[in-house]
């Protein structure tokens, strides 16, 4: 009974865990742990020997990622044909009991539709970005450390998405946070960068409180950290879970808000652009920031079946994120910041979908977004590499000098804007359909407006960067193939990925995306449109086209107009957007600085002047009493009294040193009094 956990089979495969018609995979599913471990091995190896290698450790990182890509691809393809479910938990320590049940920490991995999709996205985008970075970081001051950190990130991210339980998820979760901290602050010689890194870490730490408390709330009810148990309990509307479901769900969501940069915890993401561009592409666009969405998807049954009261709140937050924060991309001059705000906004779409009940819709957008947003970032990196500036006011007219970058960037932008038939259109359309179907009609319209804003700022970015005349210095030229090849490789799925999940279309034996990610231990039971809703699609498309048109009109492709338009400063609105709705200021001036400054100093003051004063004062009082007891009320004694009195008025109070008066008789007196007190106390106690 007490050993209940130990008796649960370590491997939950199809059939055993009630996963119905899912297969247990094969060799590659059994050995999926290699993916979780390999990047860490690379991390250590790079730290130890990277400096002495020809490619400064990059080859180790790329090699590890290549193997991972192989594994993930095989699993991905396997999962297309038949759903895989396999879960392995290894106990790493039992630690106590709750209501008679032993609780244990476990590590392991899970191979199912959701995690396979994530493995593949991480491995695929990761591999391309690693390759790209090999070119991009050439000549950097800390190449080995860069690739070590990237490997650390890849490992942590895979640990996160492969987590079969909340504990492992938390480990991976904070691991990617650490990697993000290290990489944002890659150029830590400048304070801005290290500030951004600290900001990212701290903001995420605030959110992690939610994740940890949510875990703590849910676990006693379940008796285990396993997601499979959580899903099953939620699916069965377990009573034990009932009391804490909503609170636990909201706390987990709070954790997700931090990682996925939801309003109002989004502040770290734009600043995170201080890191090198490949980092922004991989972590702060394609993978790490989707961890929050992933968490919501992983625990989807909890939200879908039990914590339904929590969902409206979550949708509201997500829609605020997608709409309000999208505007910020309109005024940013830094190309990467434009993309960062766009990422925040797109994360809002995903979150809105999952929160509203669109498990597949949210994940599908995550899937497509990973490609085109990584593509956009890498393209931006290519441009930045060429012009040595992040600012669009130093760019312009680059379409001729950098044709590959230009065309792939345009593809990415169109996909992001949601132009048919590119990937972004299909995934965004499904989100809109889900919002509409689940009854969030008003939010659906806001999301459509958001699509307009998206198209608008992306057009602005394209126009300012590639059209008009060049405003920077030097002669930019196209990046080397090691950088353009990943762009092309990402452009392909950015175009065609949408076809994988067209409502009502199934691709024969390989089925479609909905079925792939539906391979879970319990059915998700979310909404899938049966056929394309052309009316809704048309609204979305109109919004996108309108956005492009307005953007094009405003930021017409000649230098003078561009500069004139870009100086367009609408009163009230522009300062509001420029200052990021003053949210950063609120945090810094309202919370961080007061805590760091006055509050901390006050506590320190209390330590020295109150608690210690009591101690020192006790010493002084003892000495003072000593002065009386030993008849020291002569010259010195009066002095003492005066000093003690002066202490109250801010002068010298007690003097601990007077305990050490050197007067043997005072010691003897203290001894007598102390002995008496002890005797009395002893007698009283016994």
């Amino acid at each position: 009974m007490v050993r209940a956990v130990a008796s649960v089979p370590l491997v939950l495969a199809a059939g055993e865990g009630g996963a119905g018609d899912l297969s247990s995979g094969g060799f590659f599913a059994e050995t999926a742990w290699i993916m979780l471990v390999l990047p860490f091995v690379a991390f250590l190896a790079i730290i130890l020997v990277g400096k002495r290698m020809k490619g400064l450790g990059a080859e180790l990182a790329i090699g590890a990622m290549g193997v991972n890509l192989l594994w993930a691809s095989v699993l991905f393809v396997q999962n297309m044909f038949e759903g895989i479910y396999r879960e392995v938990n290894l106990t790493i320590g039992e630690f106590g009991t709750f209501a008679g049940r032993r609780l244990a920490f476990e590590l392991g991995f899970v191979v199912d539709g959701l995690s396979i999709m994530m493995y593949w996205v991480v491995a695929f985008v990761g591999f391309l970005v690693f390759v790209y970075a090999h070119g991009y970081m050439k000549g950097d001051i800390r190449v080995p450390w860069f690739f070590a950190s990237l490997s650390l990130f890849a490992g942590s991210m895979l640990v996160l998405v492969g987590a079969p339980n909340l504990i492992q998820l938390i480990i991976g979760w904070e691991g990617v946070g650490l990697a993000s901290y290290l990489l944002i602050g890659h150029y830590w010689e400048e304070k801005e960068n290290s500030d951004a890194a600290v900001k990212a870490f701290l903001t995420n730490k605030v959110a992690d409180v939610g994740l940890i408390l949510g875990t703590i709330l849910l676990v006693p009810a379940l008796g285990t950290f396993r997601f499979s148990a959580l899903s099953a309990a939620a699916d069965a509307h377990s009573e034990a879970l009932g009391g804490v479901a909503v609170a636990g769900a909201l706390l987990l969501f709070f954790g997700a808000m931090g990682k996925s940069a939801q309003f109002p915890l989004h502040v770290w993401l734009p600043d995170a652009m201080a890191g090198p561009t490949p980092v922004s592409a991989l972590m702060h666009a394609a993978t790490m920031v989707t961890a929050g969405i992933y968490l919501m998807a992983r625990t989807f049954p909890l939200y879908h079946q039990m914590a339904t009261e929590a969902r409206p709140w979550m949708v509201t937050i997500a829609v605020i994120t997608l709409f309000v924060l999208g505007f910020l991309a309109l005024v940013a001059d830094d190309l990467k910041r434009v993309l960062a705000y766009s990422t925040v906004s797109q994360l809002g779409y995903m979150m809105a979908a999952v929160a509203a009940g669109g498990y597949t819709a949210g994940l599908f957008h995550l899937f497509t977004h990973a490609f085109f947003k990584a593509l956009l970032f890498l393209g931006a990196g290519s441009v930045i590499h060429a012009v040595h500036s992040n600012n669009m006011s130093d760019m312009g007219g680059l379409r001729k000098e950098m044709p590959v970058t230009f065309w792939t960037f345009v593809v990415g932008s169109l996909s992001l804007a949601g132009v048919i038939p590119l990937a972004g259109f299909w995934s965004k359309d499904e989100i809109l359909a889900t919002l509409g179907h689940e009854g969030y009609t008003a939010f659906m319209w806001v999301a459509i407006l958001g699509a307009f804003v998206t198209a608008f700022y992306m057009t602005r970015a394209v126009a300012l960067t590639f059209f008009g005349t060049y405003k920077g210095h030097g002669h930019p030229h196209e990046s080397p193939p090691v950088m353009t090849a990943p762009l092309v490789a990402l452009a392909v799925p950015s175009v065609i990925a949408g076809l994988l999940n067209i409502p009502g279309v199934s691709w024969g034996p390989i089925r479609n995306f909905t079925d792939w990610v539906g391979a879970r231990i319990v059915p998700m039971g979310d909404y899938h449109p049966k056929a394309i809703e052309w009316e809704l699609a048309a609204y979305g498309l109109i919004a996108a086209v309108a956005g492009i048109a307005v953007g094009w009109r405003l930021f017409a492709p000649d230098a003078e107009t561009q500069q004139a338009r870009d100086r367009l400063r609408i009163p009230v609105l522009y300062p509001l957007l420029h200052n990021k709705y003053y949210i950063d200021d609120l945090y810094m001036k309202g919370v961080v600085n007061p805590v760091k400054g006055p509050l901390a100093r006050a506590v320190d003051w209390v330590n020295g002047y109150v608690i210690d004063a009591v101690i020192n004062g006790a010493g002084a009082v003892t000495a003072w009493l000593g002065g009386l007891v030993y008849g020291r009320l002569d010259q010195q004694g009066i002095d003492l009294l005066l000093n003690a009195a002066a202490g109250g008025t801010g002068g010298a109070g007690g003097k601990l040193r007077l305990l050490q008066s050197g007067k043997v008789q005072q010691y003897a007196g203290a001894f007598v009094v102390g002995a008496l007190l002890l005797v009395v106390a002893f007698v009283l106690v016994t």
Binding site: T97, F98, I171, E189
Partner: protein
Amino acid sequence: MDWFESAGLSLIVFLPAAGALALFAVPKAREDAQKWVALLTTGLTAVLAVAVAANFNYGGSEKFQFEVSQSWIPAIGARYHIGVDGISLPLLVLSAVVTVLAVIYSWDHWEEPRNVRGFLALILLLATGMNGTFVALDLVLFFIFFELVLLPMYFMIGIWGDSAKRRIPVLGRTVTMRLYAAIKFFIFTLFGSAFMLLGFLALYFRSGDFLGENTFDIPILIALGSQNAFGSGTFAFLVFGAMFLGFAVKVPMWPFHTWLPDAHTAAPTVGSVLLAAILLKLGSYAFLRISIPILPDMAREWAPFIGLLAVIGIIYGSLACLAQTDVKRLIAFSSVGHMGFVMLGIATMTDVGFNASLIGMVAHGLITGLLFFLAGSMHHRYHTREIARMGGNQKLMPWMGGIFAFTAMASLGLPGLAGFWGEFMSLLGAYRPLAGLSLSQFQTYMVIGAVGTVLTAGYMLWMLQRVNLGEPKAEWSDHEFHDVEPTEWLAWAPLIVAIVAIGVYPRIVLGATTDAVVNLARTAFGG
């Protein structure tokens, strides 16, 4: 291996003391020989401790093993009774291992006035006291070992400490830090110990009422405690209070903590390390070994109060850290916060909480010990502990900076490293405290504790940013810096490995403790 069963623990306890004596047989000028004597004795002690851990029966970790019980002072019924169980085993191993590392680190780091023999002898004496406390199963023996650690530490701080002068607020007097700190440490602890001794004596005399003869024997008293022999009246209240004072000062709990920053800041590096890694654990260990099992009813009654002080400590320590300008002082205050988590775990009075406190103690010992090593080595190189004068450490000494960053991350409780488990489990424990304790009260503690983790991250990151990152200050431009040296590697590598190992595989600690704390919670509180 019969001799090992019976004499192993005694050897672990007294070998260092014998080594200290042997040191004085070596001529004063033969410093190398002295170092080897110290290294061999502590090394052998550590090997024995590991051997004890290896031969420990983990299936019965709730029982005392390697037990020895000999008549000692028959007049008062004090016995030479020692043994280890799952609660003390990790701490014993930690203590034995950290001592070796301290000796290794000392190999070429000596503070002025240089006196190799004296310093090493104090370390060895300290080791006897620490190891002895963790194995003592007799209150008199426990008290003696508990107090024995005072003297070496007092001299360590008082002789080799920081000779800077500092103006003490309120006191209005400029004092030499090491003297002030040493005396403050000594008086504080002695103040607590006096009450603790009273509590022990009271237990002794009261135990006669049930047994017919008075006893200091801890297992017997625990057996009495599990039947609630000492009740919940004024007697038990006062006894618990007296022992609480003694232990809380040692932990230290807010507001008895003010000796800690001064002692840590003033102590020589090795002193700080041992103080942080082991000495602070004596108090919290004593709660688990003595207070709670012997007086369970009172423990339940005092729990909300202990929890309150613990969470105040967490928040207070973190905030105080944010205001520090001295690296060592900052780390010292971080101990206040971390020990707050340890005590919060204990206050929940559940097995999860006890386990949290134990793994928290081990993790804190490893992490904060390493942090003090690092702070000492940086002080050694910069000749200052002022954070404001550092910066760009990562650039001047890449490995040192890297290890510092790693340790700071471990200290802020990064999951996957040792520090996480203690924090997480004590919060988990606070969510479901012992039945009968106020749920809402402890859940409030939990939330406050969770906020504390954010503050912890805040000050650690801020410290890292100021010490490690940025460009080095101009004053160091023509200064030669040595990165981590061989002895430092030797002393630190085991700690680094242990931090990662426990972080990834907490069973290293939990495997020993879990059965023991489950049993402790069950015998103390039933159910």
